[in-house]
């Protein structure tokens, strides 16, 4: 009586195992569906599109294009210009955000109690919607009604109102200023968390040895803070590379396309010129470049950090 039962047990166990696996998968199902629809499928679709011509010319019928979208990219001066604008934007704004963030994180640490209150105030720009704040900046830099001109005229720095957003250099400076305003608090908050994680005894030990403030910074704060600095800067570089809202609202890429970043150019390619094949090639290059930068910085971080541990 027992024998046939055990004979049947193997497939039963297998079935039960499958049920258990299905149950296990159930936990991941909602997240999996969402990620598939918004990340996995779109990336594959973009890959496919980049090898096709899908535009007004082809009547939006997919025509195999081989590598011609990428070939076009190589000789596209507008692509190079947008790359240059993006690189200028990323390097200057991230550098400024880092310097400001670090300086302020060190200063807030000195303040102790009231530091928390200031940190809250500083958090505000980071949480506000960029697209809406960009309208505010547009107003500040307006040549007739802008506060920037008003202030500089009163201080006699300039003699006549300047149309800040109408000149390439000052327009880029305005975009960078607006981005620094918004994003340096993020660097600050990550670095403050880093500073707070440093054991107090390390400083006390240095104090006994007669270390100056510089010594404390150089031999205790900086080495401990390095991984935090890396994380904050990697975050910012990657986010700044994909900058869209600020440029789109503040200048629309102008004047003369001099502030058009790669995201904005891609957006126009998709939604204004309706060139979906070429747009896909553009965004893939952006993604590839970011992956390269991210990977380089990450290995750099690991190399610097791991051996010391």
């Amino acid at each position: 009586m027992i024998l046939p039962y055990t004979k049947d047990d193997a497939p039963m166990r297998k079935a039960r195992g499958i049920v258990r696996n299905l149950q296990q998968a159930g936990w991941y199902l909602p997240a999996g569906i969402l990620l598939f629809l918004v990340f996995v499928y779109p990336v594959l679709r973009t890959l496919v599109l980049s090898f096709l011509h899908v535009n007004l010319e082809s009547g939006f019928q997919p025509v195999f294009a081989g590598l011609s979208n990428f070939g076009r990219l190589v000789s596209d001066t507008r692509f190079y210009r947008s790359m240059q604008a993006t690189l200028v934007f990323v390097s200057v704004s991230v550098l400024l955000e880092f310097v400001l963030g670090l300086a302020l994180a060190l200063a807030l640490e000195q303040l102790k109690r009231s530091g928390r209150f200031f940190r809250t105030l500083l958090l505000i720009p980071w949480t506000l919607p960029t697209a809406i704040i960009a309208i505010l900046w547009m107003w500040f830099f307006n040549d007739q009604y802008g506060a920037v001109n008003d202030l500089l005229l009163r201080l006699n720095v300039i003699e006549a109102p300047v149309a800040w957003l109408a000149q390439p250099r000052s327009a880029m400076a305005a975009i960078i200023l607006a981005d620094v305003w918004k994003a340096f608090p993020f660097v600050l908050i990550v670095l403050v968390a880093g500073i707070q994680a440093i054991p107090r005894e390390m400083y006390e030990a240095l104090e006994i040895d007669g270390g100056t403030y510089w010594h404390k910074f150089r031999y205790v704060t900086l080495p401990h803070l390095l991984p935090f600095i890396f994380v904050a800067v990697i975050f910012r570089i990657i986010q700044a590379f994909a900058v869209f809202d600020l440029v789109f609202v503040l200048t629309g890429g102008g004047p003369g396309g001099k502030t058009e970043t790669i995201s904005v150019y891609s957006y126009y390619t998709f939604l204004r010129y309706m060139d979906f094949g070429y747009g896909s090639a553009l965004v893939l290059v952006l993604a590839g470049l970011l992956a390269l930068i991210g990977w380089t910085l990450y290995t750099l971080l690991l190399r610097h950090y791991e051996p010391g541990r």
Binding site: A31, V38, T127, I132, A134, I189, V249, F276
Partner: protein, 262 residues
């Protein structure tokens, strides 16, 4: 000093939103409003579809934050209880997704949304927002769930609770602080998102605040109604400013946990 620099644009805007249009056009500009007026705010809600923007933003942000945290909660609980190899593999792919430039996803997601007939529907933004923030939320929650001791779950299992009941009655309440942080951050990110909102919502009545405000500012070629824009900026940012003050600790906790965990 720096705090002043951080706040001055907002304060300036708040003051400007209370000035009359004539005063705003005056040169040189005044600092404090000479004749205090609420006309811009009234105009915003009566003559512009600002109330619709507001409701859309609220609905989209809260539902996407809820959906995102729920999906992330389920996944991260299993993830926190799975073998380390699997966990770190998933974590690194989540990291890659979290850093993905949204412009890459925009067009294919638009195709999907259109296929499901969700253009100009709140769900057309809720689903993408929930998904876009999912990697970050899962990452945040997994770190926290790893800290919840197994013993509690074992005890509950002995008491005859099923896996889902254990999650709902034991793990989820314990993970509440992290879930609140995640909810707040996803809410803020969704409230602030612009590119998808601009592309997917082309009816005036379907727009969220960011897309609505940006098109409002671009809709005037000649005389830009600064007072109206200032009032709009204030009305759409005040809820966030309040949230920062009330939940500052939670927001910082979420940001730093997300930023520091490697």
């Amino acid at each position: 000093m720096i705090c002043v620099w951080s706040l001055i644009p907002v304060v300036w805007c708040g003051l400007a939103s209370l000035k009359s249009s004539e005063e705003l056009a005056r040169i040189p500009a005044t600092l404090l409003p000479a004749d205090f007026t609420l006309q811009h705010y009234i105009e915003l809600f009566t003559r512009r579809p600002f109330a619709a923007y507001y409701i859309n933003s609220l609905v989209v942000s809260s539902l996407s934050a809820f959906l995102c945290v729920a999906a992330a909660g389920l996944a991260s609980y299993r993830l926190a209880r799975s073998p380390k190899r699997f966990r770190s593999a998933v974590s690194s792919s989540l990291l890659v997704m979290a850093f993905f430039p949204p412009i890459v996803l925009l067009f294919p997601v638009y195709e999907i949304i259109r296929m499901f007939g969700l253009v100009n529907q709140p769900w057309g933004l809720i689903l993408p927002y929930a998904a876009l923030n999912l990697p970050f939320a899962t990452w945040l929650l997994t770190g926290y769930m790893e800290l919840i001791p197994y013993e509690l779950e074992e005890a509950a299992a002995v008491d005859g609770l099923g896996p889902f009941a254990i999650f709902r009655r034991i793990v989820a309440p314990l993970a509440m602080p992290a879930m609140t942080s995640a909810f707040l951050l996803v809410f803020i990110f969704s409230w602030n998102e612009f590119m998808f909102a601009l592309t997917f919502m082309n009816l005036e009545s379907a727009r969220t605040l960011t897309a609505g405000m940006a098109t409002l500012s671009g809709a005037f070629s000649q005389e830009i109604p600064w007072g109206l824009l200032a009032a709009g900026v204030m009305a759409s940012t005040i809820p966030l400013i309040l949230a920062v003050f009330v939940f500052q600790r939670k927001i910082v906790a979420g940001l730093t946990a997300g930023g520091i965990k490697e």
